[in-house]
């Protein structure tokens, strides 16, 4: 009698001689991944539908008459799968040979070289020599508009880009035009990808060098780039990204998978917004003295003198933070203010866009209105928003304050040279100098997020860490170190040696962060809600 009872939620099968148990409905490709075998694939992408058209992920399933596409064949109980049997290998070699019939092998001038799946697979399993004698087709390149260039000769017709635009961006601008060996990816004639806000992702998902970024074109080789996990600072979504750096310069930003924040994607606005991290003309040494008396000093002198001045301060403190600053920097800024006296203003300013820009096929990902990474963190740490939606104004009281003024990370771009003129003590901590910092008694160079460790809280209330990918210029130091040292001296504690120590202090002092540790946040972040139930 057939068993019509509820089926088990998991299936157990054998892949390459090893038993694997996976949830029902898992594809063979995924099941193989769980035991460490990557089956080659082009058309399959975890964030897209699987058309099973590239024919390179075929594996041998015992009992099946033909090789099966592992991306769409679901794991079944008792299946015996061979991903590396002679039949599977022979098939892959054959498929790869067909891919190379028209592929130009221009790896030396191709941006994808080093991260190209065709290069990898052919190197692993392809024939030593091609047998093709016919000339290869030549298409040249096509400018898709935006940041995207298309080299038709290199294309393997996996249609990932077409499906990304259809299913994720929901803006079906790409299609396969013509057929057979004449097939290319194109838009509707000259309409291009201009104005599509997430089109840059098609470059990331292209398994070969067919779609490349104009911005990154011939800029760096993949194997020269260092990858640092980080968080995008262009809006309060906080997409998980990687900084790809070379020669101490950020060369490009790439999304880093996080299914709870950005999936595999990021927006073009965030992707393009990195040149400022490489901008020269940074503050490189601490400086003391107002206006014309300003002179560079070493950190020891600057901090010792500042410590003395703070101790004898007037007691009424106004602090200006920034939604670009880390939780650690903002917390330490607060501690210094509170150690000196009464904090009568604790504000930050941050620009807001007119509207949000969601990614229709991945609704979690939205380019938020707040165009800074840590608006929510600043709020949780007691900073109030000031100013308007352009990130200007709102500092009238601070500009004319006669007590102590502490500014961290706000470039004061809209303020004039009288800012802080009447302050008893004006300390400016920033990465770039500002005309409005002219009256600062101390100008202290701090690092950008790309040069320091720290954490942000995104719009979902998710604490996410970032890591230093660049060496800071001159003697710029992380804000949490400078302010943490001052706070420790004023309060009689220990100077923090790491961002984790500052975070531990923050966790103890701020209820919103209670119960969190740096280790627990890890690379994928933690929602504050999840910590507090």
């Amino acid at each position: 009698m057939p068993d019509n009872g509820p089926r088990a939620d998991t299936v157990t099968l054998t892949i390459d001689g090893r038993e694997v148990t996976v949830p029902r409905g898992t594809s063979l490709l995924h099941a193989a991944e769980t035991q460490g075998t990557t089956v080659p694939h082009y058309c399959y992408h975890p964030g897209l539908s699987a058309p099973a058209q590239c024919r390179i992920c075929l594996v041998e399933v015992e009992g099946a008459p033909k090789l099966q596409p592992s991306c769409v064949t679901m794991a079944e109980d008792g299946q015996v799968v061979h991903t590396d049997s002679p039949a599977a290998r022979r098939m892959r070699q054959g498929v790869l040979e067909f891919y190379l019939v028209n592929h130009p092998l221009d790896c030396p001038i191709c941006d994808m070289s080093g991260e190209c799946k065709l290069q990898d697979y052919v190197f692993d399993e392809g024939r030593e020599h091609g047998r093709g004698r016919e000339p290869k087709r030549v298409f040249g390149r096509d400018d898709f508009g935006g940041d995207v260039l298309y080299y038709g000769d290199r294309c393997v017709m996996c249609t990932r880009c077409v499906r990304f635009m259809d299913e994720v961006a929901r803006d079906s601008r790409l299609t396969v035009v013509e057929r057979g060996s004449r097939a290319v990816i194109d838009t509707f004639f000259d309409s291009g990808l201009e104005g599509a806000s997430f089109a840059g992702n098609v470059v990331d998902i292209c398994p070969v060098g067919a779609l490349v970024s104009k911005d990154f074109l011939h800029k760096a080789r993949a194997w020269d780039l260092d990858h640092t996990p980080s968080v995008c600072t262009s809006c309060s979504q906080g997409c998980n990204i990687e900084l790809h750096t070379r020669d101490n310069l950020v060369q490009r930003l790439m999304p880093r998978e996080n299914q709870e924040v950005n999936g595999h994607w990021m927006c073009d606005y965030g992707r393009a917004n990195y040149e400022w991290m490489n901008r020269p003309g940074r503050l490189e040494a601490p400086m003391a003295g107002r206006g014309g008396e300003r002179r560079a000093v070493d950190w020891k002198t600057a901090l010792e003198h500042l410590f003395v001045r703070l101790q004898g301060g007037t007691g009424d403190v106004m602090v200006v933070g920034s939604a670009e600053a880390s939780n650690e920097g903002l917390a330490a800024l607060g501690w210094v203010g509170e150690a000196v006296g009464t904090v009568s203003a604790r504000v930050f300013r941050s620009p807001r866009a007119d509207d949000e820009e969601p990614l229709p096929g991945y609704p979690l990902l939205v380019r938020r209105r707040d165009l800074a990474p840590n608006v929510d963190g600043a709020g949780l740490l007691g900073f109030e928003r000031a100013g308007d939606d352009t990130g200007a104004g709102g500092l009238e009281a601070v500009a004319g304050h006669d007590g102590i003024v502490l500014v961290l990370g706000d470039g004061l771009a809209d303020q004039d040279v009288r800012f802080g003129a009447s302050a008893g003590l004006f300390v400016y901590l920033g990465s770039f100098d500002s005309p409005a910092a002219r009256n600062a008694d101390y100008v202290l160079p701090v690092t950008t997020f790309a040069e320091e460790e720290g954490s942000f809280v995104n719009a979902q209330g998710r604490v996410q860490r970032f890591w230093p990918g660049l060496r800071p210029p001159g003697s710029a130091r992380p804000a949490w170190l400078v302010l943490g040292a001052l706070a420790a001296a004023l309060q009689g504690g220990r100077t923090p040696a790491s961002a984790a120590e500052v975070f531990a202090g923050l966790e103890a002092g701020c209820a919103a962060f209670a119960g969190l540790s740096y280790d627990a946040i890890g690379e994928s972040g933690v929602r504050l809600e999840a910590v507090h139930g």
């Binding site: 803006d171 079906s172 601008r173 790409l174 299609t175 396969v176 035009v177 013509e178 057929r179 194109d186 838009t187 509707f188 004639f189 309409s191």
Partner: protein
């Protein structure tokens, strides 16, 4: 003239064999090349020369053409499925599928214009450029090739004075090479508009062209 016993054998033009007018043969319920009511769209390809006036500027779709378009739309569960016959109808009306036509059809069916371009360029039976009154497709696939298709193609090009894909100066003829027309038993096969000419040899070509000219 006796009463016509059969329905819709198609209008082959006046071949001289029968004393019939187009209206006699096709009836009056035709619009363009396809029966307005009840006919299956696949029938259109079995009909003879497409001799209705093509107007590249004709609106999509008006009057009886709109009726046919709506019929097409109602026969298919999705807009994507209705795309091929919709493009057929547009080509019947305009003679070829221009970028503007693709855009309009996309708009009518609620598809992206890029997708329509992809479909239109995939199928060779959609003319992406204007063609002459008679589109002459010479099969050069295996059977025909063995039996002299290359000479037939050369003869058509010579007698029309064109290059492959080019339209003759009088606007009558466009000669193209075609893949197998599935008439391998009677090579060389030449498809002229919707009609097959079989057993064509290079020597037959001037006579065929003369006959076509008499139609136009």
């Amino acid at each position: 003239m006796s009463e016509i016993q059969f329905r819709n054998p198609g209008w082959a033009g006046n071949t001289g064999e029968f004393d019939l007018t187009e209206a006699d043969v096709r009836g009056t319920d035709y619009v363009g090349e396809t029966q307005l009511d009840g006919g299956h769209p696949s029938v259109s390809a079995s009909l003879p020369y497409m001799l209705v006036e093509k107007n590249p500027e004709a609106p999509l779709f008006e009057g009886p053409y709109q009726e046919r378009f709506e019929k097409i739309r109602s026969r298919y569960p999705t807009a994507r499925a209705a795309l091929l016959p919709a493009l057929n109808l547009a080509q019947e009306l305009r003679g070829h599928i221009s970028p503007a036509t693709m855009d309009e059809v996309a708009e009518l069916l609620g598809l992206s214009n890029a997708y329509v371009r992809g479909v239109a360029t995939f199928y060779t039976m959609y003319n992406k450029r204007p063609v002459g009154r008679f589109l002459i497709q010479v099969c050069t696939n295996i059977s025909c090739n063995i039996c002299g298709a290359d000479e037939v193609l050369a003869a058509f090009l010579e007698h029309t004075g064109t290059e492959p894909g080019e339209t003759s100066s009088d606007g009558n003829f466009t000669v193209v090479e075609a893949e197998c027309l599935a008439a391998c038993g009677f090579p060389t096969c030449v498809q002229i508009n919707s009609r097959y000419f079989e057993d064509v040899s290079a020597a037959d070509v001037p006579a065929v062209l003369e006959r076509l000219k008499s139609e136009s």
